[in-house]
Amino acid sequence: MTTKSTAETDEIIICRDVHKWYGDFEALRGVSLTVKRGEVIVIIGPSGSGKSTFIRTINRLEEHQQGEIIVDGITLSHDIRNIAEIRREVGMVFQQFNLFPHLTVLENIMLAPMNVRKWPRPKAEERARHWLARVGIPEQADKYPGQLSGGQQQRVAIARTLCMEPLILMFDEPTSALDPEMIKEVLDVMRDLATSGYTVLAVTHEMGFARTVADRVIFMDGGLIVEQNTPTEFFANPQNERTRQFLSQILSH
């Protein structure tokens, strides 16, 4: 067993000098980040800055080629057992929801608890209904994803992630594929979760969310963390030239 030398400490995610290449293109050029238990972090940056790639390396949807990632004391490597353990503890919500279209909403949520955590069906179903109620759509349990609106689908996706009872929640631009009137319902759920003790890593363009909920805002560009700070400081007093430029472009309209 790997030691849980960091498990007792507050640091639940430790990334050191993470590099990632796609062929000749270096997508991550040495990203280092430490996240404390219960911390809410919002990552922003222009498209192609590597922010999505970065959070996807944390649950091994992308393989990092250099550096070190430790999640809840488990080192992420080629060890398939470690990968499975980390994925159990890290939940992820995608931009395109990625619900399973051939399963009902309830089956979508119960799937992982039953197959990965090996819960018995009654327990899985009870928890699934609980989380569905928590995201506010208990009446949609027996519908298929295709019959729901985008906002509802994204809330089902969040419930599906929560039902695995993860320690860490990662959001990869969860509102980018939604119509404006649906963004709010998803953001409300996210806000609710952020304030109830989860460790949250969110890539998003919702500056309001970042301002009000985040403990720390991180700005990435060109595969590097350019600047990080508390939201108040970050938005009021950006240190880096590129950050200022990005913020002025985003906030100007």
Binding site: T2, T3, S5, S77, H78, I80
Partner: protein, 537 residues
């Protein structure tokens, strides 16, 4: 199980290999590969164990020893079987290798013509399926449904045994619509085109015409850009080409007037080709030679009389002069017969022996031969002469000849594949969104430009990949030729296999050959596909 200190200088932690995804992947693959190889080795052992049944001479070398190396040495042995039709010269005393090559070329022949014709038929049908005329649409749909849902082999059998072999015998060959196309049990005979010596001149004139058309096209293109309106330059360019091609035909014909000629006895009283017809008329006592057949049928003339008036030509096998003379005699309706010799000297000897009344050769050969007591009469010519098939004895002579077997496999494959291509073309055209056509019209493009510049490039991108696999299917399906007796690759390979007993080697060769056909076709179409993909950007 080593402990990892988080700050151990970036050294990767060691993982037990049975949990390392990289090692596991490689191990699984090597295990898989070993399993496959072991299976193959096992099969190989069984083959070795069965060698007694295969025969000891399987691996015979020329020096009499037996070695794995010599597995393919049998290809040099004499084939000793006939192949009914070949593209290259082939004789039963040739080797198995050459027999297989002849078969492969026959397959290539079917594949080549089949692909061209099936593409034409399929495209036409695909467009017909989208016609605004309900009747055309429906007929095309029935054709496609009927053909796609019945087996090709059944269609081939029906075509061969139920249609082609039930055609009339060669003497009563059917001529659809009175065209010079002859359908009989012995196959299909089509008129061919014989190139005369003056063809080169005509081709040169056409070349000049093309050049002129290009210049007109370019000049009018500049004018179009200057004036900003259509000047119908394609029509003018075509007119320019015709301006050279049509007079060029007559110029070349006049220039070639002395290229060919025939020799007659000096005392025969023939000075021009027209005298031949006049003499035939006089001999038969009729004014119009085209009425001879009717007269024979009515009993006014006996076949013997016609026989006596028939003009015999001596000529060289395959010489253009024969086609020229025959075309001329046919137009004048003079009954004629041909004696073919392998070379000019043999033809002259035959003439001197009295086998024929006319010796038809190129002028140069005639002058050089200097036949005594005779005159040389020049033969008029045009750059191209229609070479119409003609019954001589029990066979058709001249023109293009499709054996019943070749006709069955070619027509069968074209009809079958055409139905599949039709669906591909239709889907391709439908795949271009309506908005594209609307945008093109809104920009003011003409209908032709809309199709050529907007719809077609996009449709082709959808059409080419499935079209490739249809072409491959056509070539593979040509192996059914064995059912209608056409000696294609598979058919010759099967005979080779039975005669030589080298089953495994022959199968390897055949599979290799079909795979190469597939590779060649895929290569060309992939190359084309890449090109249109590039044009698109």
């Amino acid at each position: 199980m080593t402990d990892i200190a988080p700050d151990a200088g970036g050294r990767p932690p060691s993982i037990p290999f049975w949990r390392d995804s990289r090692v596991l992947g490689v191990l699984a693959q090597i295990a898989f590969f070993t399993l496959v190889v072991a299976g193959l080795v096992g099969l190989g052992r069984n083959v070795a164990g069965n060698m007694g049944r295969l025969g000891e001479n399987q691996l015979l070398c020329r020096d009499g020893s037996s070695n794995f190396r010599c597995a393919f040495d049998f290809l040099r042995l004499d084939a000793q079987f006939e192949i009914a039709e070949t593209v290259i010269a082939y004789d039963p005393s040739d080797s198995y290798g050459r027999a297989l090559l002849a078969g492969a070329l026959n397959t290539a022949k079917v594949g080549f013509f089949g692909i061209i014709l099936a593409t034409i038929l399929g495209t036409a049908t695909g467009i017909a399926r989208l016609s605004s005329n309900w009747l055309i649409r429906t007929i095309a749909r029935w054709y496609v449904d009927l053909i796609r849902n019945t087996p090709l082999l059944l269609q081939l059998f029906f075509l061969f045994f139920g249609v082609i072999l039930l055609l009339p015998s060669i003497r009563q060959a059917a001529q659809p619509f009175g065209l010079p196309i002859f359908l009989s049990q012995r196959g299909i005979n089509l008129p061919g085109v014989a190139l005369m010596p003056s063809f080169t001149l005509w081709l040169a004139l056409i070349g000049v015409g093309l050049l002129a058309a290009g210049v007109v096209w370019w000049l009018l293109g500049r004018r179009e850009r200057r004036l900003g309106r259509d000047t119908r330059r394609s029509l003018w360019a075509l007119l320019m080409l015709l301006l050279f091609a049509v007079p060029g035909w007559f110029v070349a014909a006049a220039a070639g007037a002395g290229n060919q000629g025939f020799v007659v006895a000096a005392d025969a009283g023939i000075a021009t080709p027209a005298d031949v017809a006049a003499r035939a008329r006089a001999a038969l006592g009729v004014d119009d030679l085209s009425a001879v057949e009717a007269a024979v049928a009515a009993g006014e003339l006996t076949p013997e009389q016609v026989e006596a008036a028939t003009v015999t030509l001596c000529t060289v096998e395959g010489a253009p002069a024969e086609a020229n003379a025959a075309a001329w005699l046919r137009r004048a309706a003079v009954p004629y017969d041909v004696e073919r010799a392998p070379g000019p000297n043999e033809a002259i000897r035959a003439y001197l022996d009295g086998d024929c009344r006319l010796l038809v050769l190129s002028r140069a050969a005639l002058t050089a031969a200097a036949v005594p007591n005779s005159a040389i009469v020049p033969l008029p010519e045009t750059p191209l002469r229609l070479d119409v098939p003609r019954i001589e004895g029990l066979n058709f002579v001249g023109g293009l000849k499709l054996s019943p077997n070749f006709a069955a496999i070619l027509i069968g494959l074209v009809i079958y594949t055409g139905a599949f291509i039709a669906e591909i073309v239709r889907a391709g055209i439908l795949s271009v969104p309506r908005g594209q056509s609307e945008a093109a019209r809104a920009l003011g493009l003409s209908e032709g430009q809309r199709l050529r510049l907007v719809v077609l490039p996009q449709a082709l991108r959808v059409i080419i990949p499935p079209l490739t696999s249809q072409y491959l299917n056509l070539v593979k399906n040509s192996s059914l030729a064995i059912a209608v007796g056409y000696p294609d690759l598979w058919s010759t390979a099967y005979t080779t296999l039975n005669q030589s007993g080298r089953a495994i080697q022959v199968f390897l060769l055949v599979m290799g050959a079909y795979l190469s056909f597939s590779l060649v076709i895929s290569f060309f179409l992939n190359w084309y596909n890449r090109r249109i993909a590039l044009v698109e950007r």
